[in-house]
Subunit: 105 residues, 2 copies
DNA sequence: ATAATATATCGTATATTTACGATAAGCGAT
DNA sequence: ATCGCTTATCGTAAATATACGATATATTAT
């Protein structure tokens, strides 16, 4: 974003757009699905399941953590990730709310 | 996306990620709301309501059109845009389905 | 024909994203 | 103390995204 006229947009739209951004890569949706199935997962397990390098997967995890969709807990030498259920639900609500404003929905 | 290992991801996840990308800018969410309220709108009206230049707004419209969330119809010298209701509903369903797979939702 | 209007596209600058390998930092075991 | 393992971060390259002004194109009106 070169210039920041962006400040004039509605705040909740900015938040929703930001979460949409976090969901805008198939690897990250994949990661959410994995964490949902396994309840929790260390980085290495995610890396084994995603066809991307360790460092790239780590970046995707970081992005999901940035928007709070997942939580990471350090357990000795590893990090255990899991869904942040509260945020997942909040996100679901936010999308539901957006679509409910559309006449056709 | 420098390299294209992306081909190994689930196809519907790739589609959903792509739509999420289209929703990942507040201006574009704003445009969807505007088109919903007014049923249809020419480019110029959208430009007047969005704090961005004409060319930038045109790009955002193009991105929304790329994923089929909106339709554009040329009407003489103008272009009239409206929501693609079928796609809006499909998108709603896709998100609903995604979130319904999460245990917490 | 020409002028005015509307809008998409071009050219361009900057920022961000995505990807990777390499490195650093932390922990546990030896 | 050192080694091995795990993972985050650094450095970097390439691709995309975002923004703008300028321009091209098409249509309507004069």
């Amino acid at each position: 974003m070169p210039l920041a006229k962006t400040d004039t947009f509605d705040n909740s739209d900015k938040q929703l757009a930001d979460i949409a951004k976090a969901l805008s890569h198939p690897a990250r949706i994949n990661i959410l699905r994995i964490l949902n199935e396994r309840n929790s997962c260390i980085t290495g397990e995610v890396v084994d399941l995603i066809p991307l390098s360790q460092s790239t997967v780590s970046q995707h995890l970081k992005e999901l953590k940035r928007v709070n969709l997942i939580k990471g807990e350090i357990e000795g030498p590893r990090t255990s990730y899991c869904l942040n259920e509260a945020m997942v639900e909040k996100t679901k609500s936010a999308f539901t709310k957006l679509f409910s404003t559309f006449k056709c929905c």
